[in-house]
């Protein structure tokens, strides 16, 4: 087999999964070695991947695999996150049950993601999509208990999306007689516009379920919160990006020529904006660290969809940049929360506090990640968000700018809560024996990803180069002199415009400090410990003085009108109506078998009588 071919690549990815499963019976070090080797080998093979496509016939259909610059970019994200994920899993999962199943499913998920990305036809994409859904479902329910519920929810949403995709794949195949995306795209433009609209709608629906776009986000918080932490990093960072990949493919490879393309994209951009705003508000409410991060993921995917749907070269660039960066910093956050959980067994923000001295590296990771998440230069998140704002302004979507700006400002609230509740405040006595997590398997992945956010922040060109080749593949005119597109870049196009950066930092911080100074600093007074104790006793060191419960009570009161209207209530209403209908139907379906027999006989009599009367 050709070592640079995609079949070899997928064979390594899938074969490693099964080999690791078998090795589990030999020794766990052997298994870990195989797991790590598989993931890093497939990451390394990405660089040598040849250009030729590969097709094979299966059951009368031709499956075609091949790489495109667009898929290579996403594959890079998967590879970038897969290696830290398995590294982080080694110690984290040592305590958990059934490690063999965990690694098998994890590696299959990773391999299936590669498979999705390298599919050139819709059928193999669907096959790998289903493999990915199944294996990630099994990973989600790995813990059992509540996780099973969350997993079933995830699976039901995914199944709805997958059937939508399958439906459109079948119709597209019927229309074009070929499953290749190129051929499908060619015959797609010849169709009736309404048909085009419907097909694009079902496809986009199917892919956006995986991306967790509102209102199809219902599975995301539960599934992210309940699945094992290292996998959650991959789940939110890479797996949900498969939805973005699919949406980009549908929007710009198949649907672009349609007359409905523009309104649909406008609608999607708004859906993204609303998703980011509402999910940010929800995230502020959460008291569980993983649920908070889950809602934050939904919000960030909203930004990505916004940029993706806008469809200017700059916004696409922003979307793909955030896709990468969100994967990186969300993985860092999930790793750090996982590390805290690993040492303390807690993810509840109301119970954790003051771990900064105990777990400094995790603190540093969270700090780096939230700086990136809150778009503060010089870390990577800033670049993506800046490009997004700029593209929004350039394409005259001022209201979306306000929405995006609102939600990214509001995201300060939840990231602050995250870092404050876990790491700051008074140290609790029960955490006295908490140690920092082991270096090689847990600190290293976190620090490596932190380095990535730093490097991409300073030298965005490293990422922008593959992005521009991906965009060129999708048909966007990327000028060679990228600096003319955004004021962020200098003439060389690969380094940040320092002037812009400094002015932004300066403005943000100056305004911030000014406001703080005039509004808060003057009123600050120093409180003695006696003040807060009613009985006048001097509190000892062991008593807790920092409270993180009801952290944002005023905010919650203010945002209540928005947040009380949940999409879940609507789904609940559907559920209630169905059960009422069921109650009504029980008059007919009495539960007595004989009644049904009577129905059959009566129907038969009616048919015979009617038939003889008509004839």
């Amino acid at each position: 087999m050709d070592i640079t071919g995609i079949p070899f690549f997928l064979a390594v990815s899938f074969g490693g999964a099964f080999l690791a499963y078998l090795m589990n019976f030999a020794h766990r070090f052997l298994r870990n070695a195989v797991v790590l080797l598989t993931v890093s080998a497939s990451a390394a093979l990405l660089f040598w991947l040849g250009d030729e496509t590969f097709s094979m016939e299966m059951g009368g259909f031709v499956l075609t695999l091949g790489k495109t610059p667009y898929s290579l970019f996403f594959a890079g994200i998967v590879a970038l996150l897969a290696v830290p994920t398995v590294l982080f899993s080694f110690t984290y999962m040592a305590k958990e049950e059934r490690p063999a199943m965990y690694y098998l499913n994890l590696l299959i998920t990773i391999a299936a993601m590669y498979g999705i990305l390298f599919s050139l036809d819709l059928l193999s994409l669907f096959i790998f999509w289903e493999i990915m859904t199944w294996s990630s479902f099994l990973l989600t329910i790995h813990k059992g208990g509540n996780a099973t519920k969350a997993g079933v929810k995830y699976f039901l949403y995914s199944a709805a999306g997958a059937y939508a995709i399958l439906f459109s794949v079948v119709i597209l195949y019927n229309m074009s007689g070929s499953l290749l995306i190129e051929d499908v795209a060619r015959s797609f433009v010849l169709q009736n516009p309404l048909m085009q609209l419907m097909l694009a709608g079902t496809l986009l629906f199917g892919f956006s379920v995986k991306a967790g776009l509102m209102p199809m986000h219902g599975w995301a918080p539960d599934a992210y919160a309940e699945s094992p932490a290292p996998f959650t990093a991959l789940f939110s960072g890479a797996l949900s990006k498969m939805g973005i990949f699919g949406m980009g493919m549908v929007l710009y490879q198949i649907f672009l020529q349609s007359p409905f393309s523009l309104p649909v994209r406008e609608l999607l951009a708004w859906a993204g904006g609303i998703t980011s705003a509402l999910a940010t508000l929800r995230a502020i409410q959460q008291t569980d660290a993983k649920r908070l991060l889950a809602y934050s993921s939904v919000a960030q995917l909203g930004y990505i969809v916004m940029g993706l749907a806008l469809g200017t070269p700059l916004s696409m660039m922003a979307a793909l940049f955030i896709t990468l960066l969100h994967g990186v910093f969300k993985a860092m956050l999930f790793f750090a929360v996982g590390a805290v959980y690993f040492r303390t067994g807690l993810t509840d923000l109301n119970e954790l506090r003051g771990l900064i001295r105990r777990m400094p590296v995790s603190f540093l990771t969270v700090l780096m990640a939230i700086i990136s998440l809150a778009n503060i230069p010089p870390l990577g998140g800033f670049v993506g968000k800046w490009l997004l704002y700029e593209s929004l302004i350039q394409s005259d979507h001022y209201f979306l700018v306000i929405v995006a700006f609102f939600s990214s400002t509001a995201s300060f609230l939840y990231v602050y809560r995250l870092i404050f509740s876990i790491f700051l405040g008074q140290e609790e006595k029960e955490f006295e024996h908490v140690k920092e997590v082991p270096f090689l398997t847990m600190q290293l992945p976190m620090l490596a990803l932190a380095a990535v956010t730093f490097i991409t922040g300073i030298f965005p060109g490293i990422v922008l180069a593959p992005i521009s080749s991906a965009l060129t593949y999708l048909g966007f005119p990327i000028q060679h002199d990228m600096w003319s597109m955004s004021m962020l870049f200098n003439e060389w196009g690969n380094r940040m415009n320092l002037l812009a950066m400094i002015s932004v930092i300066g403005t943000v911080f100056l305004t911030g400090f000014t406001i703080l100074y005039f509004y808060r600093m003057r009123r600050t007074r120093y409180v003695t410990t006696k003040d807060i104790h009613t009985s006048g006793e001097v509190p000892t060191e062991n008593e807790n003085l920092t409270y993180a419960i009801n952290f944002y009570q005023p905010f919650e009161r203010a945002a209540h009108p928005v947040l009380s209207k949940s999409i879940r209530a609507w789904i609940d209403w559907i559920g209630r109506s169905v059960s009422e209908l069921g109650d009504f139907l029980r008059h007919i379906y009495t539960g007595d078998g004989q009644t049904y027999a009577w129905y059959v006989v009566l129907f038969l009599t009616f048919m015979l009588a009617a038939g003889s009367w008509i004839l």
Binding site: V601, L602, L604, T605, L608, A609, S612
Partner: protein, 230 residues
């Protein structure tokens, strides 16, 4: 009242059913598919018994499904009666020694008869289903005649699985030799000999074992269920 209504409705339906079937002449040659089967069964499948060749060869896939249904029924029965296992109540008398001895003596003969029937399924009336059932009847006699008798469920399930695997493998071999699923790959032999008709005897032997094991399991499960009164 209900009975009268039922009788009236059934009479009505019966009348129409009768008028419908009165149009189908009794005892006349109205074969279409059957004729083709009858003419091609010996040259094509090598089986002398046309019914067998239809069940195993022309409609082999259907039979695989049927065996699966039977398996599901046996499994479902075990699931339904799960947790109701107990000692058979001691109220009834011991089987007499004549019955016990007779059961022991008859069992091998019955099994032999069953085996004969399913091995000769392509030559004489009978086949896997009948032979398997007869073997299960032998087990029934053992259950009735010997009080302490209990079927070895592990052995039964192994037999059943092996038989099922044989059936599927025989089908897949057809695929492996570039033909269709369950298509014959063996030489047909001389019609009328035991070793003829390709894969039909193999499949029918597998079916016989499978049906026998399943039905014996069903009987034993039913027999060892307590009378739910405690």
């Amino acid at each position: 009242m209900k009975k009268l209504l039922a009788a009236f409705l059934l009479g009505f339906i019966g009348y129409y059913l009768y008028t419908a079937f009165a149009g189908v002449p009794f005892g006349e040659n109205k074969m279409e598919v059957g004729k083709d089967y009858l003419e091609t069964t010996v040259p094509k499948t090598g089986a002398v018994n046309t019914v067998t060749s239809i069940v195993v060869n022309y409609r082999g896939f259907d039979t695989l499904g049927e065996v699966t249904v039977l398996f599901l029924a046996a499994t479902g029965l075990g699931a339904i009666l799960f947790g109701m296992k107990g000692k058979p109540e001691d109220k009834h008398r011991e089987p007499s020694s004549i019955l016990t001895t007779g059961a022991k003596a008859l069992f091998p003969i019955i099994v032999l008869l069953g085996a004969y029937i399913f091995i000769h399924g392509h030559l004489t009336p009978g086949g896997g289903f009948q032979g398997g059932t007869i073997i299960a009847t032998g087990v029934l006699i053992l259950i009735l005649g010997i009080k302490s008798f209990h079927a070895n469920h592990a052995l039964l399930s192994v037999m059943e699985s092996l038989a099922g695997i044989t059936f599927v493998v025989a089908g897949i071999l057809g695929l492996a030799f570039g033909k269709n699923f369950l298509e014959n790959i063996l030489p047909l032999g001389t019609p009328g000999q035991v070793l003829s008709a390709g894969i039909i005897p193999i499949i029918y032997i597998a079916v016989g074992f499978k049906v026998g094991a399943e039905l014996a399991g069903v009987l034993d499960t039913l027999m060892s269920t307590t009378r739910g009164e405690e």
